[in-house]
Structure formats: structure tokens, C-alpha cells
């Protein structure tokens, strides 16, 4: 999902500590899908309550946010609204892929192919309207503000970062940069997790990608970055066959823009690229209400997690205690005199 630009973008690795005190707009759908795909048993079965309802996303949201709040990060979750019309094809494709993955998961499980089952199960992750509503309720109970975007969440998160309402936006895909987000954080929801096996095992750390620095290093404008993305393939168009990020960068650097690539190189682009450019370059601006962080409401959290979804009460209570202790401390940040010289 999103656009594969990782190969040409430079990121700075940081630690959660470096992000203390920062406000960050989180791409909610992106994060929820991550929890749904990763919080599973070895055979791919997600966490479920007594009635068989999936709870992986709630578990992820709860424990991860407690951890991030303890590290003094201030998050705002931005939820997607209606998808742009151009995305319909991609949305349909994803639906088909999920359905196929679900069937493959069943098969692999029956045949005892555990690793295949896990992979297929991850790809079959579905986010339902009910899950979205519950996620919002849980976040609000945790005192974390939730913002509803008119269309793509990443576009709104980028706007918030641009206006200085937040310090950065957080997502795993790079579309925020196409939406002119000055700074984005990757790996926020999976930092600390271990990746790889044996000697290759590494702990995932957050990464910061600075848009202007990258554009300067690549020697391109943001408009050109969007053209590169269109060549590689976005949520709104399949890419050009055989063109990855590096080739796309070369083409755009050489010819300047998609029009000239068509004219001078004679590459036929059967893509409504002007419309796609508009999605990234002229997103709907939203009037924003001031964002407010509240104190967590432990009773409400217990109700959602334990009463409704059979979470272990002791574990939830322990995490909540950490959270309320933290809330008491953060009634204002102690400033330093050095800020006033």
C-alpha cells in the first residue's frame, strides 16, 4: 500500500526517547492494519474474544499507546474518510486479494503449512466499520484525540504537520511526503519489535524522514516527487512496468516531468496523471478544531477491553496504573530557564 519510495528516500534512525514531548499525527488505518496483520498466533489466528470477534487491533492500540504515552509522546489519530474515486479500483483489488488470502489461509491451516497459513492470514486482515468505531472509542477513553479526515487521512496529517499543529506525521508508507508533509516518522507502531532471525535479528527503531532534506539531496521538486510516485505506482494507479523508484528518479531528473517523458522519450503513459497529481498537490484543506489531550478514563477502558472483549483484567489494570501515574506528571512540562534568555 502507498508508494514504494523507500529506495530513494533517506531516513534518520532515532529512539523513542528522542521523540519525547513531540506531537505526532498518526495514520489510524495504517496503524490498525498493522496490528491486525501482526498480532496473530503462529497459525495466523488473530486475538479473539469469547464470541469470536477479532481484538488484535484493540490489543495493539492499547498496549502500544500506553507505551508511547509513557515515553511522553503526544499522539493524534487521523482516520480516513471517503476514498477518492480514483482509488476504487485499488480498493476492489485489495478486497479480492484479502478474500483470496482468506481462502489460502483456510487451506494452509488444514494442510498443516503453518508458515504459509500465517502469511496468508496476515494478508487477509480486514478492518470493519465496527472495529473502526471501537478503536475510536478506545483512543478517546485513553485521552488520545481522534480526528476524522474528509478523505485520505495522510493528507490531513500532512496538513496538520505543515500548519505546525503537530511536529510530524506517522505512517509506514511514504504517501505523507507526497502530500507535502514536512516530516514523517516511520516504525512508530512497531519500534522495539524484533525483525529477522539469528544473527540478522535487529530491533526496529523509529525513523524520521525530512521532506526538504530529501528533495534537496535528490535535486528535485515535490511536484517531481509526485511524478516519480506516479511512475512507480500509487494507490490510484498501477505503475509503469519495469520502472522502480530509481529508474523513475532518473527519468524525471532527465526529462523534468511526465509530459516531457511522454513527448521526448515517447513513453506512453496510460494514466490520468493530472488527476492523481491533484490528489497529492491540491488535497482538500480541512478546518481544524483545536486538539485536546485529556486524562485517561480507566473505567471506560476497562469496560471496552475487559467487559466487552474479555481482556485479562490484571494486565489491563497494571498498564492503566502506569498511564495514570504518567498523566499526573504531565500536568505541564517543566521548562528550563535556558529557554528564556
Amino acid at each position: 500500500m502507498g508508494t514504494r519510495l523507500g529506495d530513494i528516500m533517506v531516513a534518520t534512525t532515532v529512539t523513542l526517547k528522542d521523540l519525547a514531548g513531540k506531537t505526532i499525527a498518526v495514520d489510524a488505518f495504517n496503524t490498525l492494519y498493522q496490528f491486525l496483520s501482526t498480532i496473530r498466533q503462529p497459525d495466523g489466528t488473530p486475538l479473539m474474544d469469547r464470541e469470536g470477534r477479532v481484538t488484535s487491533h484493540l490489543s495493539g492500540l492499547f498496549y502500544r499507546n500506553v507505551n508511547l504515552i509513557e515515553h511522553d509522546l503526544r499522539l493524534v489519530y487521523v482516520f480516513d474518510g471517503e476514498a477518492p474515486v480514483l482509488k476504487a479500483e485499488e480498493v476492489e483489488k485489495r478486497r479480492e486479494r484479502r478474500e483470496a488470502a482468506r481462502l489460502e489461509w483456510e487451506r494452509a491451516k488444514e494442510e498443516g503449512r503453518i508458515e504459509d497459513a500465517f502469511k496468508a492470514a496476515r494478508a487477509s486482515s480486514r478492518l470493519t466499520a465496527e472495529m473502526i468505531e471501537e478503536s475510536k472509542a478506545l483512543l478517546q477513553a485513553l485521552g488520545i484525540p481522534v480526528v476524522q479526515a474528509p478523505s485520505e487521512g495522510e493528507a490531513l496529517a500532512a496538513q496538520m504537520a505543515r500548519e505546525g499543529i503537530v511536529w510530524a506525521s506517522a505512517s509506514q508508507d511514504n504517501d505523507a511526503l507526497l502530500y507535502n508533509c514536512p516530516r514523517m516518522v516511520r516504525n512508530l507502531s512497531i519500534s522495539g519489535r524484533r525483525r529477522g532471525r539469528g544473527a540478522k535479528q535487529k530491533t526496529v527503531q523509529p525513523e524520521i524522514i525530512d521532506l526538504d532534506n530529501n528533495l534537496r539531496t535528490l535535486g528535485i521538486t515535490r511536484e517531481q516527487l509526485v511524478d516519480i510516485a506516479i511512475l512507480v505506482g500509487t494507490d490510484y494507479n498501477p505503475g509503469v512496468k519495469g520502472v522502480g523508484p530509481k529508474t523513475a528518479l532518473k527519468l524525471v531528473t532527465k526529462y523534468g516531468c511526465l509530459e516531457r517523458i511522454e513527448e521526448e522519450k515517447g513513453l506512453r503513459l496510460d494514466i490520468p496523471y493530472q488527476k492523481i497529481r491533484d490528489i497529492f498537490l491540491k488535497p482538500l484543506e480541512t478546518e481544524l478544531e483545536p486538539i485536546e489531550w485529556k486524562r485517561p478514563d480507566p473505567e471506560r477502558v476497562m469496560e471496552i477491553l475487559c467487559d466487552r472483549h474479555d481482556f485479562n483484567m490484571d494486565r489491563v489494570e497494571r498498564a492503566l496504573e502506569r498511564l495514570t501515574a504518567r498523566a499526573r506528571e504531565t500536568d505541564g512540562r517543566q521548562s528550563s530557564l535556558t529557554e528564556f534568555f
Partner: protein, 255 residues
């Protein structure tokens, strides 16, 4: 090179108490006209700025011009322990010998007792005072201020000070409850002698610092100055002509 005599052990105790609230080393700058100290605590949240003009002392001689003071750096723990040996009848004398390696505190009473403290290497730079502008200026009875700080401290770890032209309010809250102390300006009865506010202002400060420093205030009157979300300047006198300034960075509400 430096010699001073002080009749009042009370004054010296007050100075040492103030230093001990937030420093681990006291770095005095001594010149022919005064003994001064200006330091931030290690977390850079608070600054102590003390000026003891020669007039505070009954005898005072120092050869250093005001532009190039002698650095006198002493460990606070030792200074506190030595100063505890004072009795109220003692008369004090301070001196630095020609070699400039020790600070001598002499307590003259029934006996003549001398304590020589090893001088420490002074820090490479002297702290500057932040340039602050204040919207609010309050002069009030010191005991009323101390009481307000203690009252709010019963239920809270920080105090919000709010002022307009008529009232001065100290408030605080926690999960356990909240406290509010309201003082009005003017009238012969009011403990607030002066209350000037250019605009209604409000700022929050950590109480532990204020509780500690208010223990070291010995004068009858304190002056408070602050602006919204900016540092607080607390001033009081030491032995009529000396000055103790305490500057505290605010707690700032997050966005």
C-alpha cells in the same frame, strides 16, 4: 586579599540555607564592593542571584576590582556542616589567605574557632541573568506567601499563580483534590501591599522549589514578579541592604 566580619549568625544561616536548597557548590564572586553569587541549579530550572554589598558586613576589605572578581568556590555540604557549628552568640569572620587556596570561617564567642574550607576549581563561565519582562508585580507579606505555598502543597505538586489588578490567586490540584488561596489588594489589613498587573496573567510553577526557597526568606516582605507562562522572580532582602533573587522557570501546559 579578602576579609569580612559579620555580627549576625542569623544572616549567614539564611544565606547558607538559600544556597543549600538548590546547589551542590557555591560559587561566590568577591570584589571590593560586594560578595555576589549567581547560579542555576543542575537541572537549569531555577536560578539564585544573591548580592551582599560591603554594608551588610561590619568589616569588609577586598582587593579585587568589580570588573575582575575573585572566584570563591566552596562545596555546599561542607559549608552547611561548618555553619551548623555556629551558636547565636558568635561573631563571624571570613577570610581568604594570600595563597588563595582556603576559605576561612572564624567563629568567635566563648572560644575562637577556625574552619578552613578547601576552595574548589570554579566553573569555566559565570551564569548570566535572563532578560525578563514582567506583567505582574506584587509586594506582599512574606509569611502570607509562605502560607499560600504550603496550603497549595497539601494537595498539589505545583502552584498556579493568577493575578489581575485586584486579586492574586494561588491554586493547585491533583487527583486528590484542589486548593485555592485568594488575596485581595489594598486596605490596611491586606497582606498584599502592591499588586500591579498590566494584563491578567497566569503561570504554573513547581512547588518543591518554592517551598525550599521560602524557608530561606527571612525578610518581612517578598516581591513577586511574573508573566503568563514565563519565569517567576522572587526577591527578598538580606540584612536590609543585601538582596536575594530567585528565578524559577514555569511549568508550561502542553498543546
Amino acid at each position: 586579599m579578602f576579609h569580612a566580619a559579620l555580627d549576625s549568625t542569623k544572616t549567614w544561616k539564611q544565606i547558607v540555607d538559600a544556597l543549600a536548597t538548590m546547589l551542590t557548590e557555591a560559587h561566590f564572586m568577591v570584589t571590593k564592593s560586594k560578595m555576589a553569587l549567581r547560579q542555576m541549579d543542575s537541572s537549569k530550572v531555577a536560578m539564585l542571584d544573591i548580592e551582599l554589598p560591603a554594608q551588610v558586613f561590619q568589616e569588609y576589605t577586598c582587593d579585587a576590582p568589580d570588573k575582575s572578581p575573585h572566584d570563591v568556590c566552596i562545596g555546599i555540604d561542607e559549608l552547611v556542616r561548618v555553619s551548623k557549628r555556629m551558636t547565636s552568640e558568635d561573631h563571624l569572620e571570613f577570610s581568604i589567605d594570600e595563597s588563595g587556596s582556603t576559605f576561612e570561617i572564624r567563629m568567635i564567642g566563648n572560644a575562637d574557632r577556625r574552619f578552613k574550607l578547601q576552595l574548589l576549581t570554579p566553573p569555566p563561565s559565570r551564569a548570566k541573568r535572563p532578560a525578563l519582562k514582567f506583567d505582574v508585580r506584587v509586594e506582599m507579606f512574606a509569611d502570607t506567601f509562605k502560607q499560600a505555598v504550603k496550603d497549595v502543597g497539601v494537595l498539589s505538586g505545583h502552584v498556579r499563580i493568577t493575578a489581575n489588578g485586584d486579586t492574586l490567586k494561588f491554586s493547585g490540584a491533583s487527583d486528590f483534590g484542589e486548593t485555592e488561596v485568594v488575596l485581595s489588594r489594598g486596605g490596611d489589613e491586606s497582606p498584599v501591599y502592591v499588586l500591579e498587573a498590566k494584563t491578567e496573567s497566569s503561570a504554573m510553577y513547581a512547588l518543591n522549589y518554592l517551598v525550599e526557597i521560602s524557608k530561606a526568606i527571612a525578610s518581612d516582605t517578598v516581591t513577586l514578579q511574573f508573566s503568563t507562562n514565563n519565569p517567576l522572580l522572587l526577591e527578598s532582602l538580606i540584612a536590609e541592604v543585601g538582596r536575594l533573587s530567585f528565578i524559577l522557570a514555569p511549568r508550561i501546559e502542553r498543546r
